[in-house]
């Protein structure tokens, strides 16, 4: 009896804690966003500036996610194939963007690439502006979502091993064909997992983008920046909550995809930091 009561009290404490810390805020988000009815929510979401922000977020993701996916798979292949000097340092370097403050990422990008920065003179001579431009936003977003594909693919790649690839090679398949027909199918769930994490992170990035974007309404506002701006500048509660709900819904969908992928592939886990 004593054992069961301890089990129950621990269960109650844990669930209660989660309900207060996570359940309450998330529930409140949904209630508040619809507090003025579905119509008010819809008219907020379809405001020109909100639509522009949504479009920019989607465009940024369309560039950042494929690039990071290719780089992540490439780095994973490199790190899984053979041990080499600096391999660990490379893994660590991939982790830096998520371990440090997004604000630092933004400041670093500006110090390196803006007009006052190292490459600034050369870049502006060639008509490339980083600061206050969508291009800068893409760079900032790519930086903060860099490691997720690598982190998801690498453990799967190591688990799969090299046997099948070597068999394919001895049977006369070239490296490219081996990759497409053997390696990629073997790691596909890992790739999908990493891509989902990358998308979630890409659409939600706030700090780094805020520093480089310059927060120009309708032009360099991604959805998170838009949420911040409608609250900060006009105290528009419904606008901020409507935008927040759109973002939250995307991340909840991402979570569902992630947990069903985890059920499929045991090597996958929520890899954070």
């Amino acid at each position: 009896v004593k054992h069961t009561s301890r089990k129950w009290s621990l269960r109650v404490v844990v669930i209660g804690y989660l309900a207060l810390l996570v359940g309450l805020p998330v529930g409140y988000l949904f209630i508040k966003a619809f507090s003025h009815g579905l119509g008010a929510f819809w008219s907020e979401v379809t405001k020109p500036n909100a639509v522009a922000a949504l479009k920019l977020s989607a465009e940024v993701a369309l560039i950042a996610v494929p690039v990071n996916t290719v780089i992540g798979i490439g780095a994973a292949l490199l790190l899984a194939k053979k041990k080499f000097f600096g391999g660990r340092a490379l893994t660590l370097a991939f982790d830096i963007p998520v371990a440090v403050s997004p604000i630092i990422i933004g400041v670093a990008l500006i110090l390196a690439y803006s007009r006052i920065g190292w490459f600034g003179a050369w870049l502006s001579k060639n008509g490339i502006t980083i600061l206050f431009s969508p291009f800068g936003i893409v760079m900032a977003t790519m930086a903060v979502s860099l490691p997720y594909v690598l982190r998801s693919v690498l453990p799967v790649l190591i688990e799969v091993g090299k046997d099948q690839e070597q068999a394919a090679r001895t049977l006369g398949a070239g490296p490219l064909r081996t990759f497409w027909q053997i390696t990629l199918p073997a790691i596909r769930w890992g790739v999908l997992y990493g891509v989902t994490l990358t998308i979630a992170r890409t659409l939600g990035e706030f700090g780094a983008v805020l520093v480089v974007s310059g927060d120009i309404t309708g032009k360099t506002q991604t959805l998170p920046i838009y949420i911040f701006a409608v609250w900060d500048q006009s105290y528009d509660t419904i606008g901020a909550f409507a935008g927040a709900l759109v973002l939250a819904s995307i991340s909840i969908v991402a979570l569902i995809i992630l947990s069903s992928l985890r059920a499929r592939e045991r090597k996958l886990h929520v890899d954070l930091a």
């Binding site: 054992h3 660590l92 403050s101 604000i103 630092i104 400041v107 700090g207 979570l255 929520v270 930091a273």
Partner: protein, 192 residues
């Protein structure tokens, strides 16, 4: 708290556990500004619960507890799951109570994971910006390093921003490398 949650997730089973499981990752998946906006309204000056944490330490604490929740739980969970019950059963059969078994048998093997998770959570907390930028308000007492740097950039004080960034960057890197080393040590111990 991370250890307690991981314990329940691994050792306990009840209906709707998958739901609790999914809840853990929510703070990670939610964009930080979404967290910031919700917390500002829930615990701000116009709080429907009449809990006003605007511009207070507690406000920062709640935000950081929220965003770091998955780190602590997910670091401990796989280790706890990999422990077999043998040592615990032995301790119990030798007369140790539940609490004693936990403290002297389970906890020692969890320590590295707990520390590793703590390191990751700490790195995340120290650099956090989005979720606390709103509830922290604009006063000096609740301005974190990230907010301070952001304020400097708004005044185009790039040199100052670079200096503070470097200090924060070095701190984060030390934490990152330390938790990395810790995790490796632990792996060695598991697979000699």
């Amino acid at each position: 708290m991370g250890v307690a949650i991981a314990w329940v997730l691994v050792r306990d089973s009840f209906h709707g556990k998958w739901f609790v499981e999914a809840f853990i990752d929510l703070p990670f998946a939610l964009p930080t500004i979404v967290v910031g906006v919700v917390l500002l309204f829930l615990f701000g000056t116009a709080s429907p619960l009449h809990i006003d944490l605007f511009e207070t330490w507690m406000g920062l604490m709640v935000a950081l507890l929220f965003v770091t929740l998955p780190f602590s739980v997910r670091a401990v969970q796989p280790v706890l799951a990999s422990l077999d019950g043998e040592a615990e059963a032995a301790a119990k059969s030798l007369g140790a109570g539940g609490l004693r078994t936990f403290v002297s048998v389970v906890l020692p093997s969890l320590w590295p994971a707990v520390l590793g998770g703590f390191g990751l959570a700490f790195a995340r907390a120290i650099g956090e910006f989005g979720s606390i930028s709103l509830i922290a308000g604009g006063i000096g007492r609740t301005t974190t390093a990230s907010s301070y740097i952001y304020n400097l950039t708004q005044g185009f004080l790039w040199t100052n921003a670079a200096a503070v960034s470097t200090a924060l960057l070095v701190l984060s890197l030390i934490i990152l490398i330390a938790s990395n080393v810790l995790a490796r040590r632990f792996q060695h111990r598991l697979a000699p």
